[in-house]
Amino acid sequence: MSIVPVNPSFEVKLSPLGDTAIIVELGSVIDQKTHERVQALSSYLRREPFPGFIELVPAFVTLTIFYDPMKLLAPVAENNWNSLAEAAASPYEWVCELLMDIVSKLEGEQAAAPRIVTLPVCYGGELGPDLAAVAAHSGLSEKEVIALHAAQPYLVHMVGFAPGFPYLGGLPEQIATPRRSTPRLRIEPGSVGIGGKQTGVYPIVSPGGWQIIGRTPLVLFRPSHEQPSLLQAGDQVYFKPISYEAFIAWEEQA
């Protein structure tokens, strides 16, 4: 593992994830600053991928970059692969150098303005069977829970766990509620849930233990789209309460 001082405000830790990927740690706590660094490095690499770059995975404080070692070394190796292997040329060290160079240039990189996505949500009733449980746990009325949940934007820190599943930051503490003691075997796509201090939306049918407080008629995982996940890391998400009638109308339209 190497630690690269870039500027006084933060350090960058690089570590290998095996022989085909590298983890770039851009902070040690989950906060806006770290998130912006992850976003800045992601957008730089999307714009200017290096030879051998395969893909990247942004997370709370890290960016992981997958690469093809052979394509990475191809410009260096020319026709001398055998001696290259014997000299134990390291693709990892090569990527480290590349990334150190890129990170040093990132200070000037303006984080792109976040994309704003509004998810209409029908709270409570049959679409949000656990709204009452969340209200009881928080000592609030169902109306107050809805108002709090829909009051502020949430940040998509990363997408993972399931295709298109957003890890959202920004849930008000008052409505944080432990998971259900018995997980449900089937949660419908679009279900909005609270699990501890997190909130999220289930993109596909899956089992799960989160408290389901509502459902959005929007489709979060669209396999035939160029960008299958509706939400991307870095997006700002608003929840907008809608009536059951509006939910049905929306679904019928789609």
Binding site: M1, G18, I23, M70, L73, A88
Partner: protein
């Protein structure tokens, strides 16, 4: 026309080398568990190394070929036969229309890869033909194969196929299949064996584990439990733990990442692993040894051997160079036989 599934076996899916570029959207890479066997099978029939194949698991399928096909079976030996005659592994085989390829006892390894010249023809979804069962996309209708399915074979226009068709026409005998006289020998394959030794590079949290845990990890046998699937293998053995409670902030994982949840039993992530993980990472399996894990059965024991990151990279490069040589060797063999 194509391959009709008479019996699906335990788990037979369409796989290629995986769905790349979508992990940031929570979409797994997937792909064949044994990347070497998958590539070798494709090369033997003149396909691109990453064409789609069938991956059979422990109990293989019964397949009826509705057309003549040039195939190759690589990986684990699940006793493939046609009319009771053993079909050799690791070599091109020309099977005539109407014959049934059926698998029997799992003699060695766990997964067999069946490639057909032209590749298994299912729609590309996000750049890949691999089956992603959880999201119900890719492969054959987004699911494992079942009896009654008919899987199409793509147009194989390669000179390899042309040669074999000529050869088949020249032969007047009634044999249901015939195999090439040459094959990929054991010296050209990973060191497949029972109870393998798996080389690893220390993971990001290796040093956070207790001295005892690290020692156990290096010296003890671990048994592959029956809790195993394409997502990962749970290991049974000494419990491992960190010095202080450690809950790393979730981040990307990859095939071969070895995580240790609070219970202390390590889990090796395999091809269908989720994109993100939040358990301490004790180790990462060297890419070249992943095929050995793909061919390990539940109940087998494995041992771990630590190597440096540099060594793991050197093994990777050498393996890829060998793959390139193998590809050239096969092309030359075909030319010589013409």
């Amino acid at each position: 026309m194509g391959i009709r599934i008479k019996h699906a076996g335990l788990l037979t899916t369409v796989q290629d080398r995986g769905r790349l570029g979508y992990r940031q959207q929570g979409i797994i890479a997937g792909g064949g568990m044994d990347d070497f066997a998958l590539r070798a099978a494709n090369l033997l029939v003149g396909n691109e190394a990453g064409a789609a194949v069938l991956e059979a698991t422990l109990i293989g399928p019964k397949l009826i070929f509705e057309q003549d096909a040039l195939i190759a079976i690589c990986g684990g030996n699940l006793s493939p036969t046609v009319h009771g005659i053993a079909v050799p592994l690791w070599r091109p085989v020309y099977i005539k229309a109407g014959n049934e390829l059926s698998f029997g006892a799992c003699v060695a390894g766990a997964r067999a890869y069946i490639a057909a010249a032209g590749g298994v023809d299912v729609p590309l979804v996000m750049g890949s033909r691999s089956t992603y069962t959880r999201a119900a996309i890719g492969g054959f209708e987004g699911r494992a194969l079942k009896a009654g399915d008919v899987v199409a074979i793509g147009e194989g226009a390669s000179e390899t196929l042309f040669y074999w068709e000529q050869e088949a026409g020249d032969r007047q005998d009634a044999a249901p299949f015939f195999a090439a006289s040459w094959s990929i020998g054991s010296e050209g394959r990973p060191f497949y064996r029972k109870n393998p030794v798996i080389r690893f590079v220390p993971g990001r949290h290796f040093d956070a584990f207790t001295e005892g845990s690290r020692k156990h990890f290096l010296q003890s046998d671990f048994r592959i439990s029956t809790q195993l699937d394409r997502m990962g293998y749970r290991l049974e053995g000494p419990r491992l733990g960190t010095e202080a409670a450690l809950e790393p902030i979730s981040e990307a994982v990859s095939m071969g990442t070895i995580q240790v949840p609070a219970g202390g039993s390590p889990i090796i992530l395999m091809a269908d692993h989720q994109t993100i993980g939040g358990y301490p990472k004790i180790a990462q399996v060297a890419t070249v040894d992943l095929p050995l894990l793909a061919q390990a059965k539940p109940g087998e024991t494995i041992r771990f051997k630590q190597i440096t990151r540099q060594k793991s990279e050197e093994l990777y490069i050498k393996h890829e160079l060998q793959m390139q040589r193998l590809s050239m060797f096969i092309v030359i063999r075909y030319r010589e036989e013409r």
